[in-house]
């Protein structure tokens, strides 16, 4: 009985499964839309990154210089 219920549950899930296609493993971050990226990226980091990108006087050398 226990076995039957256990396996029936797995069977049911597999019927509606969202397991990735074996061939599609290269779909990486591109599968997430840019809006999703915005909504899930750590907000303080995002805000600062945006501010830095828009307003920083110099390029990445300034950022590396800033590492303590």
């Amino acid at each position: 009985m226990r076995r039957k219920a256990f396996l029936a549950n797995v069977q049911q899930i597999l019927r509606d499964s969202s397991l990735p296609d074996v061939q599609s493993h290269d779909s990486s971050l591109s599968s997430i839309s840019s809006f999703d990226m915005l909504s899930v990226t750590s907000p303080p980091l995002l805000l600062l990154l945006v501010l830095i990108l828009c307003k920083t006087k110099s390029n990445t050398s300034g950022i590396s210089h800033g590492l303590r």
Partner: protein, 470 residues
Amino acid sequence: MTNLTFYERTRDALEDPTVNQAIRVGARRFVSHRASTVSGLPEMDRLRDRARVIRAETLNKLDVFLAEFADNVELNGGRVFWAKNADEANDYVVKLAEARGVRHVVKSKSMVTEEIELNHALEVAGVRVVESDLGEFIAQLAGERPSHIIAPVLHKTRGEVGELFEKELNVAYTEEPIALNDIARSHLRDIFLSSDMGISGVNFGVAESGTLSLVTNEGNGRFCTTTPRIHVALMGMERLVPTFADLGTMLPVLEISATGQRLTVYNNLLTGPRRSGEPDGPEELHVVILDNGRSDTLASEVAEILYCIRCGACLNICPVYQSIGGHAYGSVYPGPLGSVLTPTLMGLEQWHELPHASTLCGACKEICPVRIDIPSLLLRLRDASSKANHSPVWIRTLMRIYSIVARHPKLFQLGMRFASVSSRLFAKEDWLNRLPPPFNGWTDHRNFRALAKKSFGQQWAERRSTEHTS
């Protein structure tokens, strides 16, 4: 799990230089061993591709392979118990121990038993449990949980282990690895011989034969599963391979990825309990197949994490794990793997911080032997967490404000001007050394350039205007 938040545990880990150094050195050693072995194996990429296909095919027909595996375990003389959750699994093992008069249990390393806290359940029932994997043995003596799924005491130095043995086992202090190993070995020998029950995990269950594959480097797994009169093996329901041929692919992929060895020292294949005429082996074999959230994971959009074969390679390569170690995650499954698996198995609401414990650099995906797209799974969990409002109110409020500003160029430009002016209030010689809360987390360890007086857009417009004029 402690009562501290993830951020508090992380802060504590970062402030502990010993942990930091031990983890960094240990994890990088694993990475370099693996890289060295892989460099001599041009077929490794094909093996990984094949391993991924095997995992996908297994999970796509999991119900079929589970039934086949259980049938074969029973045909071989073993018993199978289907456990929906941790309580059912623990209850079965505890009752079995009570029914057979078991007083002493010796254990081989098993993350599933850590997950369900089986040791605690047995100890509450008055059964003494001793871990026999050297790392687990040390962690048990120290009263700690493992900090790594392959190397449980990666966070400890040799000196710390020497001090622990001196205190707990009443032996002379030494930090020589061979001497420490000898101490543990002599201590454990009597325990192997006097235990009534051996408990192990399962690296892979082979469906076509009902065989349990167990890999160790110390030989303790073989002792645990053959010397005591009862062997109980606990297996997550996804840990199957269809055939022996598939096992031939999965084992080298696991072993190379875990420790960089081309072959682990002890590869055990256990098919049923002792048969008549055999000189050793347990009288009884019980296999507990555990769901404990795995079927929910299978139904979720992060089902791919069930491809995981628990090699620990993603932990070793992860810059976050290397910095904070395993205990900061608060879960038995740390690192990138744990940041997906823990919230999925144990609830996103309680574990919503873990998917953020990643820089999304992608190193875990690169090194994963079955090519699990961990960064993508982490993003999906962050998304789910965000939609379920698990983040603090201030973050949600900031994001709402930002989403409005970002959709209105005029507002955005105004915001930039405000940010430029306000950032200069805190700047010293064009550098932001200290920001007020909640941004101070960023400036505690690094400086930022103050925002320019003119935005790129303004500078661009001015330049174009100058060019047109000239």
